[in-house]
C-alpha cells in the first residue's frame, strides 16, 4: 500500500516535473517566434520590392503568407493588426497548399514544408517574393533568408544567389549583419 502510495507520489512528482519542463519549452518557443515575427518587419526595412507589382499603391496590403504549420500561433495576427509595413496594412495568410501561394510579398516557409520546398521555390524563384525559411538547411536549398539559433540567439543567413534571382534589392547593411551562404559551399541547388 505504502509502496503504491510512494509510487503514486513519485509519478505525481515526475508528472509535475515533466509538466513544468514542457511548459518551459513552450514558453521558450513562444518568445522565439515572437522575435521572429518582429524580425519579419525589420527585414523589410532593408529590402526594396520592385515597383511593377503595384507596390506603390498604398491601398493594397502588404501580404505575408505562412505556408505549412503555423509556428507563430496568434502572434503574427496580433503584432500586425496595427503595425504597418512600408506604409501598407499587413495581411496575414495561412496556407498549406502550394497552389494557394498566389501573389505575396513575404512567404514564410514553415519547417513542416521541408519535403515540398523545391516545388515552392520553383514557384517563387522568378517572382519578387521574399522567402524566409525556418529550418537549418533551407538556406542552402535556396530560401533567401533563413533563421537559425546560435548561442541561444535568433540569427539569420542569406542565400546570395537566390537573392540575386529574386529581383529584390537588399541593403548592404543587412548583408553585413547576416551570415552569407554561397550555394557552392552547401549541397543545395
Amino acid at each position: 500500500m505504502i509502496r503504491y502510495q510512494v509510487k503514486k507520489a513519485v509519478l505525481k512528482i515526475l508528472f509535475i516535473i515533466y509538466f513544468l519542463n514542457s511548459f518551459n519549452l513552450l514558453y521558450a518557443q513562444a518568445s522565439e517566434y515572437k522575435l521572429k515575427a518582429v524580425f519579419l518587419e525589420r527585414f523589410t526595412r532593408f529590402i526594396e520590392w520592385p515597383d511593377n507589382s503595384d507596390f506603390s499603391d498604398s491601398t493594397k496590403p502588404f501580404i505575408i503568407t505562412v505556408i505549412g504549420e503555423n509556428p507563430f500561433g496568434k502572434t503574427l495576427d496580433e503584432l500586425y493588426e496595427k503595425t504597418k509595413i512600408k506604409n501598407k496594412k499587413v495581411q496575414i495568410k495561412y496556407i498549406k497548399d502550394i497552389k494557394k501561394i498566389d501573389s505575396c510579398h513575404i512567404l514564410f516557409i514553415s519547417a513542416s514544408m521541408s519535403n515540398s520546398l523545391d516545388k515552392i521555390l520553383d514557384y517563387t524563384r522568378t517572382r519578387p517574393i521574399l522567402t524566409i525559411g525556418d529550418h537549418p538547411d533551407f538556406a542552402l536549398r535556396g530560401v533567401i533568408i533563413n533563421f537559425f539559433i546560435k548561442n541561444k540567439k535568433v540569427r539569420f543567413e542569406i542565400n546570395e544567389k537566390s537573392l540575386e534571382q529574386s529581383r529584390l534589392y537588399i541593403s548592404y547593411l543587412l548583408l553585413n549583419a547576416a551570415t552569407i551562404i554561397h550555394e557552392e559551399e552547401g549541397g543545395g541547388k
Binding site: F39, R42, R45, F46, L173, L174, N176, A177
Partner: protein
C-alpha cells in the same frame, strides 16, 4: 613719444618704417593663425561628425536585430583613428548598446541637452550624432576625440610664422637704413647752410638743388627767401641814407621858414623853435626854450588855448586864434596850426594875425550897427554870389525865415520852410535869377516851426561886374504877413457882401412873383365873385331848357341831338370854370384831420368818370397810409391831378399813385404815361390862367398849389415829353 621726438631724422625714419612693418606683420600673422585654428577646428568637427554618422549607419542592423557583438565589432574599427579616445552607441532609450575605448563618459545626454552640436573643451572634442536610416531613428552614437594633434599643428604654424616675421623685420631694417638717406640727407644739408648763414650773416650763400620733389621746392623757397632778405637789406641802407639827408633838409627849411615853427612836449614846454618864432616872441632861442606856450599866452585866452591843446592830444590836430604877450609886454594875435607828431611831441605853425584881427573887429562893429537898424525896420538884407553860390545874410534874415542861428542858410533849408503851394513858384524864380533874368520882387509864404504861415516879400537887385555880367544879386526880405492878412480880410468881406446882395435880390424876385400871383388871384376873385352870381342863374335856366329839349326832341334828326349835346357839354365846362374860380378865390383855412389816403384817392377817382382807357395803380407804403390834411381840399387836389393826367393820355394809359413816408413828411407822387410837358410849360404850370389845353381853364394846378401851400407843403413837377409827368406832393406829417 618725447624720446622719439628728440631722435635724429635718420633714426625717426627707421623707427617709423620698422613700426609699420612690425604692426602689419603682427596683424597679418594673428589673422592667419586665428583663421588656421578656426579652420582646423571646423575640419576636425566635420570629419568627426562624418565618422560618427558612417559608423552609426553601420550599426543600424546591429541595433535592428539587437546584435550587440556585431555593434561592438563595428565600433572596434575606430581604433584605426588615433584621435578617438572613446566611442559609444546608445539605443533609443539612451541605454548603452555598445562601446569602445577607455574611461567611459557618463551623463552624455545631459551634457548635450538633446542638441547634436560638437563641443570642445581644453583637451577633447565631443560629438553626439543620431543614428538614422530610411527615416527610422535607431539610437545615437557618441565620440570623444583628443585635440592633441590640433594643438601640435597650431604650435607648428606659429613657429614657422615667427621665423618668417624675424626675417622680414631684418630685411625691412636694412632697407630702411639704406632708403632713409633719400630724405634725411637733403634736410641735413639745408640745416648746415642755415647754420652757416646765421653764423656769418652772409645772405649771398645758396643751397644746391638736387631733386624736384617737396624738398626741391623747399630749397627753391629757401633760396628765394635769402634773395628777398638780401634785397631788403639793400633797400634799408638806401632808405636810411635818404632819411638822414631829408632830416637835414627839413631842419634847414624849418629854420628859414617865414612863420614861427615850434615843437612842444605834452606839458606845452618848447623843445624846438625856429628863428621866426624867436622874432615873433622877442625872445632869444635859449630864452624861449626855457618858456612854455602857457607862459606866453595872454591870461584872458589861456583857458581857450589849453582846451585847444587837449583837442590836439586827442584828435591829432587843431587850429586856434588867441592873444599872446611878447617879451616887451605887447599883445599880439597869432593863429596857431598844430599837429601831433607823437604822444609827447607837438608841432605848431604860428602866423601873426594882429592886423587882420583889428580890421575884423571894426567890420563887426559896423555890421552890428546895421543889424540893429534892420531889426528895428524888420527888414533883412542878403547877397548871393551867382558864381560861387555863396550867400551872405544879415541877422534879421534868420528871424524873418525862422532859422535858429546854427542852421545853415542854404537853398535847401529855405525851400523846406516854404509853404508847399508856393514852392514851385519860388524854385522857378530862383532858377530864372540864376540864368541871369532878374525878377525884382517876389512874394511867397513860409511855414514857421510853430505852423504859423508868414508872408515874405523879397526884393532883388543885380550888381554887375566889370564885364557888365550879373555876378551878384543883393536885396532885402521883409515879413509882410500883417499887410497880406488885412488885404485878405477885405477880400473876404467883399465876397460875403456880394453873396448877401444876390440872396436878397433872389428873395425879392420871389416876393414879386408871389405878389403878382396874389394880385392876379385877387383880381380873378373880384371879377369871378360878381360874374359867378350873374352867369350861374341864367346858365341853370339854359341847362334846364336843354334837358327839356333833349327829352322832347328825342326822335328828331341826329343833327339836332348832336347840337344839343354840344350845348350841354359847353354848359358843364362853363359851370366848372366858374366853380374853379370860386374855389380858388374863396379858399378857406385847411381843417386838418387824419385821412386814409387810399380812400380819398378812390373818392376822387369816382368823381372823375375816367372810363375804360385809364388803368389806375395804387402803391401805398405801409407806414404811409394816412396823412393829416383837409379832406375836401385834398380831394380837390387829387381830382384836378387825375383830370390833368387823363387829358394828357389820348389813348390808353396808366395813372399811378405812390406814397412814401420820410422822416416827418409824407410824399405822394402821381405819375402818368401821357404826352408830358415842355420845360417852359413846367415853369408856368402853377400860374393862374396858364394852360396848354384848348378847353382848359388854367386854374387846376394853380388851385392845387394854393391848397398845398395852405397845408405848409410843397408841390413839384417833373416831366419828359412823350413819356409822362410826375407830380410830387410833400406834406408835413401830423396835425401841425
Amino acid at each position: 613719444m618725447k624720446f622719439i621726438r628728440n631722435l635724429s631724422i635718420r633714426n625717426k625714419l627707421i623707427i617709423i618704417i620698422l613700426a609699420i612693418v612690425l604692426s602689419s606683420i603682427s596683424i597679418l600673422f594673428l589673422t592667419f593663425i586665428f583663421n588656421d585654428i578656426q579652420f582646423f577646428k571646423n575640419e576636425m568637427v566635420s570629419v568627426s561628425r562624418m565618422t560618427a554618422k558612417i559608423v552609426g549607419i553601420d550599426c543600424v542592423p546591429a541595433l535592428t536585430f539587437n546584435d550587440v557583438k556585431g555593434g561592438t565589432g563595428i565600433l572596434k574599427k575606430l581604433k584605426e583613428i588615433p584621435t578617438v579616445d572613446y566611442a559609444c552607441v546608445y539605443d533609443n532609450e539612451h541605454n548603452i548598446f555598445a562601446s569602445f575605448g577607455n574611461a567611459p563618459d557618463t551623463n552624455v545626454f545631459y551634457k548635450f541637452k538633446d542638441s547634436y552640436k560638437a563641443k570642445f573643451d581644453e583637451r577633447n572634442l565631443y560629438v553626439l550624432e543620431p543614428i538614422e536610416y530610411n527615416g527610422h531613428k535607431y539610437g545615437d552614437i557618441y565620440l570623444r576625440l583628443s585635440t592633441r594633434k590640433l594643438d601640435e599643428r597650431t604650435s607648428n604654424h606659429i613657429f614657422i610664422m615667427s621665423l618668417i616675421a624675424v626675417v622680414i623685420v631684418l630685411v625691412a631694417y636694412f632697407l630702411a637704413l639704406w632708403l632713409q638717406k633719400l630724405i634725411s640727407k637733403p634736410i641735413l644739408l639745408l640745416a648746415n647752410v642755415t647754420e652757416n648763414i646765421s653764423g656769418n650773416a652772409d645772405y649771398s650763400q645758396r643751397v644746391q638743388k638736387i631733386s624736384e620733389d617737396e624738398i626741391g621746392e623747399l630749397y627753391d623757397s629757401f633760396n628765394n627767401m635769402l634773395e628777398q632778405i638780401q634785397l631788403r637789406q639793400k633797400e634799408r641802407d638806401i632808405a636810411e641814407k635818404a632819411l638822414y639827408e631829408s632830416e637835414a633838409r627839413y631842419r634847414n627849411y624849418i629854420n628859414s621858414a617865414p612863420h614861427g615853427v615850434f615843437i612842444t612836449n605834452e606839458r606845452c614846454e618848447y623843445i624846438e623853435v625856429n628863428d621866426a618864432a624867436c622874432i615873433m616872441t622877442g625872445y632869444s632861442k635859449e630864452e624861449l626854450l626855457k618858456e612854455s606856450l602857457k607862459t606866453v599866452t595872454a591870461p584872458s585866452d589861456l583857458n581857450e588855448v589849453l582846451i585847444s591843446f587837449g583837442e590836439l592830444k586827442t584828435k591829432g590836430n587843431t587850429v586856434i586864434e588867441a592873444g599872446f604877450i611878447t617879451k616887451n609886454g605887447q599883445l599880439r594875435y597869432w593863429e596857431i596850426t598844430a599837429t601831433r607828431l607823437s604822444s609827447d611831441r607837438f608841432l605848431g605853425f604860428t602866423v601873426d594875425i594882429t592886423k587882420r584881427r583889428e580890421a575884423d573887429e571894426a567890420l563887426k562893429k559896423s555890421e552890428k550897427t546895421l543889424s540893429k537898424a534892420q531889426k528895428i525896420a524888420r527888414i533883412g538884407s542878403w547877397e548871393l554870389n551867382l558864381r560861387t553860390n555863396q550867400i551872405k545874410l544879415s541877422d534879421e534874415m534868420y528871424n524873418i525865415f525862422d532859422f535858429d542861428p546854427d542852421t545853415a542858410f542854404t537853398e535847401e533849408n529855405i525851400k523846406q520852410k516854404i509853404y508847399s503851394d508856393d514852392l514851385d513858384y519860388v524854385s522857378k524864380t530862383i532858377d530864372k535869377i540864376r540864368s541871369g533874368v532878374l525878377i525884382p520882387i517876389i512874394e511867397f509864404r513860409i511855414k514857421k516851426t510853430n505852423q504859423d504861415i508868414r508872408y515874405i516879400s523879397v526884393i532883388a537887385e543885380s550888381v554887375l561886374n566889370e564885364n557888365g555880367e550879373m555876378e551878384t544879386v543883393t536885396g532885402t526880405a521883409q515879413d509882410i504877413t500883417q499887410r497880406k492878412l488885412s488885404e485878405e480880410q477885405i477880400k473876404n468881406q467883399n465876397i460875403l457882401l456880394e453873396k448877401a446882395v444876390i440872396k436878397k435880390t433872389h428873395e425879392m424876385e420871389k416876393m414879386m412873383e408871389k405878389l403878382i400871383r396874389q394880385e392876379k388871384l385877387a383880381t380873378i376873385g373880384k371879377v369871378s365873385g360878381s360874374i359867378a352870381h350873374e352867369i350861374r342863374n341864367p346858365l341853370g335856366a339854359v341847362k334846364q331848357a336843354v334837358f327839356f329839349l333833349q327829352g322832347k326832341l328825342k326822335n328828331k334828326s341826329e343833327k339836332i341831338k348832336t347840337h344839343l349835346n354840344i350845348i350841354d357839354e359847353e354848359l358843364t365846362i362853363t359851370d366848372r370854370v366858374i366853380t374853379n374860380l370860386l374855389e380858388m378865390t374863396r379858399l378857406e383855412e385847411a381843417n386838418k384831420e387824419k385821412i386814409n389816403i387810399a380812400e380819398l384817392i378812390n373818392q376822387a377817382v369816382d368823381r372823375c368818370d375816367l372810363g375804360n382807357k385809364i388803368t389806375l395803380k395804387l402803391n401805398i407804403m405801409k407806414n404811409a397810409e394816412f396823412m393829416w390834411a383837409d379832406p375836401l381840399q385834398m380831394q380837390q387836389v387829387f381830382v384836378n391831378l387825375i383830370i390833368n393826367s387823363s387829358q394828357a393820355m389820348e389813348k390808353k394809359g396808366i395813372i399811378e399813385f405812390k406814397t412814401i413816408k420820410n422822416n416827418h413828411f409824407v410824399k405822394i407822387t402821381v405819375t402818368d404815361t401821357g404826352h408830358g410837358m415842355s420845360n417852359i410849360a413846367i415853369k408856368k404850370a402853377f400860374e393862374p390862367l396858364f394852360t396848354t389845353k384848348a378847353k382848359g381853364t388854367g386854374l387846376g394846378l394853380s388851385i392845387c398849389k394854393q391848397i398845398i401851400d395852405n397845408h405848409g407843403g410843397e408841390i413839384k413837377i417833373s416831366s419828359s415829353v412823350k413819356k409822362g409827368t410826375t407830380i410830387s406832393i410833400i406834406l408835413p406829417d401830423g396835425a401841425n
